[in-house]
Amino acid sequence: MSELGELFVRSARGDRHAFDRVVEYTAAPLYRVALRMLGNPADADESLQETFVRAHQALVVGQWREGTKTYPWLLAIATRVCVDALRRRNGRPVPYGDIDASWLVSDGQHAERAQRVKELLSYMDDLPPDQRAALVLRYIEGLSNAEVAEALSISEGAVEQRLIRARANLRRRFGDDGA
């Protein structure tokens, strides 16, 4: 069993120190997933905390079974938390000018890229939450359609449909803007 797997087992038995180690190991990649799905650090941080609270609760009531993959299990929880956050935001997309892009530029070298990413984030904000989640998991996190299906609790066919619609929506937006 992997080290993370052993920490999961100990966490499920109520070892809070082991769960702290789980957080230590997985917080950074899960934070990046949340940041890519939600587009701003404050929401990503809040969702990260909620992810681990839900994960801990699920572990102690025995919803994770030995032999189940650890990181994909956490990623599925993080995805559900982000989709919930996007649903709460749905219909009230963050205006382009209000997008917090401070995390996109660290040294001034990537100012142009930051502008393009900011534009992408504003278009992604108009997508339905499950389409946005499918795009991030498939093209940014590099998951297979089957893995995306598992994370979103939908069929592979439904994943393909969401990806087609999401790409069509973005294509239309970029096309309208002459990209």
Partner: protein
């Protein structure tokens, strides 16, 4: 040819979408949660656990109070009933002969 031209534009746009998504990936590759994330999550779990204990304690207290209330209500009812029965037996205040 026109169809080929359309497909080429379509593909270019598709590629540009994936390219933008990969730019988002690159732009966020170094992003990390705010310092102290482990401590903040531990504090949130602790707070949640305390709230859960408090809820259990409050439920237990409410249950105990309702059991106690039921006990005293029952006792008071029995006393009242006993008093009425005694009064009837004595004919006290009811205009009956003892």
């Amino acid at each position: 040819m026109a169809r080929d031209g359309f497909d080429k534009n379509h593909e270019d746009r598709e590629d540009s979408i994936v390219a933008r998504l990969l730019e988002l990936k690159a732009a966020s590759a170094q992003a990390r949660p705010l310092p102290g994330v482990v401590r903040r999550i531990a504090a949130r779990l602790e707070e949640r656990s305390m709230r859960s204990h408090l809820a259990v304690a409050l439920t237990a207290a409410a249950l105990a109070a309702s059991v106690s209330l039921a006990f005293w209500w029952d006792a008071a009812s029995r006393l009242t009933m006993a008093s009425v029965v005694t009064s009837v037996d004595d004919g006290d205040g009811l205009g009956l002969e003892p």
